[in-house]
Symmetry: C2
Subunit: 197 residues, 2 copies
């Protein structure tokens, strides 16, 4: 069968997301994924050794799309304060879209995230590394004051301080009136903290 020749991890993960969406996290099985792909479940297991590994990989893929989308801000040129503002605004926009645009898929991933806290921790580390890159550029350019105590701690503090605008625990607030000005006020506070006096 032609399908098996081109069976990649990425294709399996796409099919897994489709199956999760269709059956929900409680009922989705590796056999369902294989059926969608028109392959044997053994072919799926050659790429992902267990169902748990497959679920972890699909969760990681879902989360890491944020990192890919935010990369232009992290690696871009231009003033560090604008890049950080853009990064935070874009993260908030993506999170709101995920929460509001497809609540069922979001709920599915919330279940998977609950099963895979190590994946979430790694993902947060990647996001904080992107903030750290922007902060380090800002310090080098003289736009930001030297980080106190250090860039990694400062970047984590920026992530934590804006947590109301990206942690799914707050998703219910994201459609409240006044959430936009609240975000802008926190962003402005964070930038004031970073800017060179």
């Amino acid at each position: 069968m032609a399908a098996t020749e081109t069976l990649t991890a990425e294709r399996i993960l796409e099919a897994t997301e489709e199956v999760l969406r269709r059956y929900g996290p409680a009922k989705a099985t590796v056999v369902d994924v294989a059926r969608v792909l028109g392959v044997s479940h053994g072919s799926v297991y050659r790429h992902f050794r267990t169902k748990a590994a497959l679920r972890e990989a699909v969760t990681e893929r879902w989360l890491e799309r944020n990192v890919v989308e935010l990369r232009p801000y992290a690696e871009g040129r231009g003033p560090a304060d604008e890049r950080l503002g853009g990064w935070l605004r874009h993260l908030f926009a993506m999170k709101r879209q995920k929460a509001g645009g497809d609540p069922e898929l979001m709920a599915t991933y919330m279940v998977l995230i609950g099963e895979n806290s190590a994946v979430v921790d790694r993902h947060v580390d990647h996001l904080v590394e992107q903030i750290a890159a922007i902060v380090a550029d800002g310090i080098r350019d003289g736009a930001f004051a030297a980080a106190d105590p250090d860039v990694a701690t400062t970047a984590r503090a920026v992530f934590d301080a804006t947590d109301r605008f990206h942690d799914p625990a707050h998703a219910a607030d994201w459609s409240a009136p006044g959430i936009e000005p609240a975000f802008e006020a926190v962003l402005s506070l964070v930038l004031r903290a970073l800017r060179r006096a």
Copy 2:
């Protein structure tokens, strides 16, 4: 009966908390409250016209204890940055104690809070007013730079930026290792934003 002569709103609220603790929010009734106090339920209704009003009042009392406890920082003298640090540290400590010390009562109040979002909004307003008082003092003393755009918005941004350390949605993180340094890093970021250059 002597009890009726001294029946105050405060005594009813104490008894209501006791009844909520004993029976849980789903089962607690006004009749239970009256029984604990040794009065008729009519006597309770003379102070609180409905069961909903009683539940709202007991929720408000529970929340507003924080405001009372934090008042010394809000109204105190001394450097504004130390007062704000003390205020935020004390709020975090109280929230952790409530969440960790008596999880059952905490769960009860989480149910009541879900029923009374207007009470929570008023309570948050009171907390933000305390932050605003400290920020305004700091600006007057020259310790803090002029608030941009204004004191009320800045105070709300300080509250939102520290949300990971007082919003019950994050209670599960409060016993995680590293939560103390994470709090101190956010506090330090917030104070850097406020201090005069």
